[in-house]
């Protein structure tokens, strides 16, 4: 019972970065848990992927080539992964916490009787036992989880929590046949997200959103202008759309749009209700500008400015020469 097994996640022939993060995490745990670090690649044509995972602390790559694994299929993956785990008895199995692993990890953990936790962003080894940390209650608390009586543990790792490993390595690569398993679902097609035009909150990488703090309809236009000048899409909270100050298509939140592709979200004069957060709390870089230092928006912001949005906006315009 030792070593770390990582399942490679790939889609449309490309390895997903999250796999490199899992390898990075394994590198930091290898000393405490004991090697080897093994990556399992299940695919119709595993060779190029095997190369892509030959990085960092990886000692061994196992490939399983199956025509029915041209795309991810949970029942096929389950059979293969379980048979590899049964043979190798790793102390820790890692996979990214992603849409594919949702339908795989529970079946493997239950089937093999592994300790199990998902969306984990911290892993420690204490007295040889794995302890995982994840968040609960909408990120408001952290939860430490242990696995009494379990000899192996399966964790799915939250994206962005572990540094990806990219340094090339030369692990042993071996191809095996593993698991029977038959597909019970059939891939038909991919559909890429629709091209965007006009007001596009879901597609915008940079959103500047205004809330009731804007005060008056007469102030709204200057924020359209500011957003324009900064290269941002203007979004808003619901009361702004409800008042008819901006069209509904700009509303971010539960009953509006999801800022799905946003990387920088500046919330001005928005208190941060759950419903608004629904549309934006996942954004990596949130800047909150609010005159109330207690506003809940600050609890999810990476940067906070306690101040008057109109003054800050005015300064931005001046310094950016938008005036």
């Amino acid at each position: 019972m030792s070593g770390i097994l990582i399942l490679a996640e790939h889609r449309r022939g490309t390895l997903r970065d999250a796999t490199l993060e899992a390898i990075g995490a394994a590198g930091t745990l290898k000393a405490a848990l004991g090697g080897p670090v093994t990556v399992l690649v299940i695919a119709a044509d595993p060779a190029p992927l095997a190369k892509a995972v030959s990085v960092g602390a990886v000692d061994e790559v196992i490939t399983v080539a199956r025509p029915d694994a041209a795309t991810y299929e949970p029942h096929v993956y389950e059979a293969v992964l379980r048979s590899v785990i049964a043979q190798r008895s790793p102390a820790l199995v890692l996979m990214p916490h992603g849409v594919d692993s949702f339908s795989l990890a529970p079946a493997v953990a239950i089937g093999e009787g592994l300790g199990f936790a998902t969306d984990v962003f911290g892993v420690a080894v204490e007295d040889g036992q794995v302890v995982a940390t994840r968040a609960g209650y909408n990120e408001k608390v952290f939860v430490e989880i242990d696995f009494p009586g379990r000899t192996g543990v399966l964790l799915t790792l939250r994206g962005g929590s572990f540094a990806p490993e990219t340094a090339p390595a030369s692990p042993a690569v071996s191809a095996i046949d593993a698991g029977d398993g038959t597909a019970r679902s059939k891939h038909l097609d991919w559909r890429d997200p629709p091209a965007t035009g006009g007001i596009d909150i879901p597609g915008s990488p940079f959103i500047l959103s205004i809330g009731r703090g804007v005060g008056d309809e007469a102030n709204v236009a200057q924020f359209l202008e500011l957003a324009d000048g900064l290269g941002a899409t203007l979004g808003c909270s619901r009361p702004i759309a409800d008042n008819g100050w901006l069209p509904k298509a700009r509303q971010v939140g539960q009953s509006g749009q999801l800022a799905a592709k946003c990387n920088l979200y500046i919330a001005m004069g928005i208190s941060g209700s759950v419903q608004h957060q629904w549309g934006m709390k996942h954004v990596e870089n949130i800047v909150a500008i609010n005159k109330d230092p207690e506003a809940s928006i600050f609890t999810i912001a990476r940067y906070g400015i306690v101040g008057d949005m109109l003054e800050i906006a005015e300064e931005l315009r001046k310094q950016k020469g938008i005036h």
Partner: protein, 467 residues
């Protein structure tokens, strides 16, 4: 189901129902004093609700005063942060709790009495200092107390605090820090000589801040309007009041032109030039400018950019025929701009009443001129936001509001219950609503009604004294 008409009957009914949300508005209401103890028992019966009510910004201040007698620290901390908490309650809690978080919350609260703020300033930690500097009510005396240990950022904050007096500003300026100076010269209480110096400073940022001083004398403002830096010119223009004798002239810089376009005193010939400006924002600002002559609003209402036409449609001075034209615009957002205007010509409104799109339909629903039949239809619109707009229409008739009482969306029911055109009897019919916010609204409506009835009855007694 009739709503109890007087406060005694109402309070009795509220207590009998045993619903804390419904009863909450009655606590402390005039005429309900006799039942205070029974109300208190009901409102304090549940640990979870005590926490919820302590943080509720529309909880009656008298109830928060009562709740302040609880022991649980989490409840008291919420009361200190609740914007509805009265100064007296805050003072009481200030004497009782001395932890850092409470002190900071007191320092930030708009109702904390001046004496307490001055006391807090005396030996304040960083969080309390920051809160005092942000609290617009912090008196000058407290600001002076903060000066001693102020670091650079705090000195800048002191220089921009609305209660900073000339003495404080003079002391701050004597420190010689450029950032502090930039704040101080924009302050209306700044000594004039210092402002005048700033107007001719070598640093454009300082001149710009001076230009934003709201009490800048006209002669200095005039001088800054000829400044070499466009940002300074634009700023000087922004606060230049109508009627002051300053000529606005053609300017090469887009920032200045945008500021001119917003200016109420933009002269007609300049406006004429600006209305053809290549910069869309110049035209947007101009189109919104209420001082613009009708002819120019007409022209901008025909602009190729929908944003400009929208702005023209929002201009209070937009002439009726232009409103009618914009009501037929191909762009929905432009039509929505005029759809909520009470001065929209009747036929144009009637045509828009038939539209179903969300932006136009919500605007029509808010328009006080919209017909009852149309409002009744919009009260059953597929979009909840459109239906709620009916409840936000100040002239919405009871017949339309009643439909909203069956709205599946609780917020819409709450809005309808609050609407003064909905008879209290109808509102009272929602006392069993599943959503707490609706029941609270019902309680509030009934209490306000009974209190008004009580006042009217007393007035009646005063006018016709009983033998």
């Amino acid at each position: 189901m009739r709503a109890p008409a007087n406060m005694a009957a109402l309070t009795g009914a509220l207590i009998a129902r045993g619903d804390a949300y419904l009863a909450l508005p009655a606590y402390g209401a005039e005429g309900a004093e006799w039942a205070q103890a029974a109300l208190a028992r009901l409102l304090l019966s549940n640990a979870r609700l005590k926490l919820v009510f302590a943080a509720l910004p529309f909880a009656p201040p008298a109830f928060l005063a009562l709740l302040a007698g609880e022991d649980r620290p989490a409840i008291l901390q919420r009361i200190v942060r609740n914007p509805a908490t009265s100064g007296a309650t805050l003072l009481r809690l200030a004497r009782q709790m001395d932890d850092a978080a409470t002190r900071a919350a007191l320092a930030a609260h708009a109702h904390t009495p001046s004496v307490a703020l001055i006391g807090l300033a005396m030996n304040a930690d960083a969080a309390v200092r920051a809160a005092l500097l942000r609290n617009a009510g912090t008196p000058a005396l407290a600001l002076h107390a903060l000066l001693d240990h102020a670091d650079a950022a705090e000195r800048a904050a002191l220089a921009r605090h609305p209660q900073a007096d000339a003495d404080l500003l003079r002391t701050l300026l004597a420190g010689g820090d450029a950032v502090v100076r930039a704040e101080a010269v924009a302050h209306p209480h700044c000594p004039l000589t210092q402002v005048a110096d700033a107007c001719v400073d070598a640093d454009a940022a300082i001149r710009r801040r001076a230009a934003s001083n709201p009490v800048l004398p006209p002669s200095l403002r005039q001088a800054l309007m000829g400044d070499s830096d466009p940002a300074v010119r634009a700023e000087a223009l922004r606060l230049h009041a109508e009627g002051q004798d300053v000529a606005l002239t053609d300017d090469g810089d887009v920032r200045v032109r945008r500021a001119q376009a917003r200016h109420v005193a933009v002269p007609e010939d300049l406006a004429e030039v600006l209305s053809r400006d290549g910069d869309v924002w110049v035209r947007v600002w101009l189109a919104r400018n209420p001082a613009l002559p009708a002819g120019l609003i007409q022209r901008l209402g025909g602009d190729a950019e929908a944003r400009v036409r929208h702005a023209a449609g929002r201009n209070p001075a937009c002439p009726a025929d232009m409103l009618a034209t914009l009501a037929r615009d191909g762009d929905e957002w432009v039509r929505a701009a005029v759809a909520c205007r009470p001065d929209l010509p009747t036929e144009a409104l009637r045509a828009l009443e038939r539209e179903d799109g969300e932006d136009v339909a919500s605007a029509v629903a808010r328009n006080p001129q919209t017909r009852e039949a149309a409002l009744r239809r919009l009260a059953r619109h597929g979009q909840a936001d459109v239906r709620r707009a009916v409840a936000l229409n100040p002239d919405a008739p009871a017949a339309a509001l009643r439909l909203l009482l069956d709205d599946p969306y609780p917020l819409n029911r709450a809005f309808a219950v609050r609407h003064p055109n909905l008879p209290v009897a109808d509102a009272w019919g929602c006392a069993d609503d599943g959503a707490p916010q609706v029941r609270f609204a019902v309680g509030k409506r009934a209490v306000t009604h009974a209190a008004a009835a009580g006042r009217a009855a007393r007035r009646h007694l005063e006018t016709f004294p009983q033998p």
